[in-house]
Symmetry: C2
Subunit: 182 residues, 2 copies
DNA sequence: TGTCTCATGTAAGGGGTTACATGATTCC
DNA sequence: GGAATCATGTAACCCCTTACATGAGACA
């Protein structure tokens, strides 16, 4: 899927500028794109040419002028249509596992320190995710259902990282055991 | 990371042709690329120009000729170097969560059937992963350590899918509860 | 007769990334 | 004086994907 529908999603919540959307993406773990300018501003132009959004230019005295994008009915329909599509299975892209898979040339010690570096990386990611969610979480609460859903999505991420840490402990223990046998 | 190191990994295990590498990628869940021709054959040419692999052309009577690629010492060094790089955190790209996040326009029933479609998708993926691993798993067993590592990598995938299914049950229950309250 | 396996490659395009460019204001 | 925030946009490039092209033999 492309970033288009994530943008339509934010705009279906409230109108905003490209700049604001960019910050939303940066703050969010769920919306997994980097939120770079190139993608967002291009997507907005494309969405406009498709009639899914419209914009209003606001000239400001002390800041650069900005374009406030608003979703159209066509955009709402297109979003709903996409949301109801048959979901895809999750993608687990863990380049660390590829490194581990080809660690045959390393010593036991080198493998263990590689695993510990991964452990730290995951822990950091978990902390960052939790912090993002604590301070001023940027998500809609238009109904108790919507709040529940966003909470569950956040929990999905938290527990994914936590489960990864449990797995890390397990492989560390296993490697140490077979290490001591020799 | 690019597919290059995954290819070097396979070649560090045993020499093979582009065609064989392609099949390896198709059979593997860990090596998460689609394994399409364009990428593999291009990568092999590039790896050769970097001096990381060499090839030998074999002419066959009843089949098309093939190029057997072998890893060089430079390739082994390059692979080891990459394996020892600081690992990146796992990427969880779950487009389904983006759909859920913007499901505000749907009815409770529509959301539940969306979640169930996701559940089926994850179950199928889990079954496929387990089947791939049962019948003739394509991975090296040059030492007990290597076997242990590949087993743990496979378990990482299995448990990721299983944990996702547990999460699905939880959100289904929560949505049903708040549904009944109304 | 049609599809599968072996085997190598090319064409076109989608989606994403980093870095660059501009320019005023505000805060340390 | 230097960095950060607001605000929009472009250039170059990387990685990956699907689909196309060829051509022989095996199997149903």
């Amino acid at each position: 899927m492309s970033i288009k529908y994530a943008i339509l999603g934010y705009l279906s919540w409230k109108p905003s500028t490209g700049y604001q959307l960019k910050k939303n993406f940066e703050e969010s773990s769920i919306m997994y794109w980097s939120g770079n300018n190139n993608q967002i501003y291009k997507a907005l132009i494309q969405l406009q040419s498709e009639g899914c959004v419209s914009n209003e230019v606001i000239h400001q005295a002390n800041s650069p002028s900005k374009k406030i994008y608003t979703i159209t009915q066509k955009g709402l329909d297109s979003l709903k249509n996409w949301v109801m599509l048959n979901p895809e299975a999750p993608e687990f892209k863990k380049s660390f596992l590829v490194q581990l898979a080809w660690s045959h040339q390393l010593t036991n010690g080198e493998i263990l320190s590689l695993i510990e570096a991964y452990e730290n990386e995951v822990k950091m990611q978990l902390i960052m995710h939790n912090e993002k969610n604590k301070r001023d979480p940027v998500f809609p609460k238009r109904s108790s259902r919507e709040e529940l859903i966003w909470d569950m999505i956040s929990e999905n991420f938290t527990s994914s990282y936590e489960k990864e840490l449990i797995w890390v402990e397990k492989i560390k223990k296993k490697l140490n055991c077979s290490n001591n046998k020799e």
